[in-house]
């Protein structure tokens, strides 16, 4: 390789390095100056929202790929049990058929999806989200306190939720075999089952 070629490569490498350092420096200054507004009542800019949304969707999809979905999600008992859990654990943020928006659902950012409108997630992805929660969204990791069976009941119910009228929803919640407290007491008397991922 000729000397002039080597010099040119060094120049390019030095320029790229300097540009990178300048970007890191500018970004560090922006962080320190508190430029970006983290208030929940000011939406992200379009590109930031897209970036976070895409990163979150891919993270969930990749991690849910190994989750084994039970084949009884259509079981009416599971769905009824899930309805009871949903009403206690989820409806305050995700709402339910016939339910008006709550103060917390109006103030959360990003907004908790209204699950009665359906979801693009697969059952495995829904299970993963319910179990592990989602950082910086307000979605808790229910797997810390609930076993997998209870969480799958919720997923079974979520598959049914978009079809329900307000009356059907209320009837299903009332038909839940056990209240949330009873389920929790029963669960605490048994060791936690953590088969899922």
């Amino acid at each position: 390789m000729s000397a002039s070629k080597i010099t040119r490569y060094w120049l390019i490498a030095a320029s790229v390095g300097a540009a990178l350092l300048a970007v890191i420096g500018a970004a560090s200054l922006a962080i320190y100056a508190g430029t970006y507004n983290f208030a929940a009542d000011i939406p992200h800019t379009g590109p930031v929202y897209w970036l976070l949304e895409t990163a979150r969707e891919r993270s969930i999809a990749v991690r849910a790929a190994d989750v084994v979905v039970p084949d009884d999600l259509g079981d009416p008992k599971r769905i009824a049990s899930g309805a009871g859990q949903y009403a206690e654990m989820c409806s305050f943020c995700h709402l339910a058929p016939g339910m008006k928006r709550t103060e917390i659902s109006r103030g959360l950012y990003p907004r908790a999806p209204e699950l009665r409108r359906g979801s693009d997630l697969t059952p495995a992805e829904e299970f993963w989200v319910v179990k592990h929660g989602v950082k910086m969204t307000g979605m808790p990791a229910w797997g810390v306190t609930h076993n997998d069976e209870i969480l799958w009941d919720v997923v079974a119910f979520l598959r049914k939720l978009p079809e329900l009228t307000p009356d059907e929803y209320q009837a299903l919640v009332k038909s839940a075999p056990k209240t949330h407290d009873e389920m929790m007491q029963e669960m605490e008397s048994r060791p936690m089952d953590h088969e899922g991922h």
Partner: protein, 93 residues
């Protein structure tokens, strides 16, 4: 350890650089009975629209909100409210 710190700094700075280089888009959450044409209501509504799935309803809602903001800038609060109402209808489809 050093690698992970470096990776965090680089990914953080790239995200921040993206934020800093893009002008703030228009504002948005709401509630029909107390809808007003002000920055808070527009921000809340925009947050609601962001969470919508892509489709015709979202496109309509975004257009209506852009018009609502134009009207607010022109101090035409009635027209602003009308566009916010249209956006909300699209949002609730």
């Amino acid at each position: 350890m050093r690698k992970s710190v470096f990776a965090s700094v680089v990914s953080g700075t790239v995200a921040l650089a993206t934020c800093a280089s893009v002008p703030l888009t228009s504002a948005v959450a709401h509630e029909e009975h107390q809808m007003e044409c002000n920055e808070t209501a527009i921000n809340a509504m925009n947050a609601d629209i962001q969470s919508m799935g892509d489709g015709e309803a979202k496109t309509t809602a975004l257009k209506e909100m852009a018009m609502a903001e134009d009207m607010m800038a022109k101090k035409d609060m009635e027209a602003c409210m009308a566009h916010m109402h249209n956006a909300m209808e699209a949002l609730e489809k």
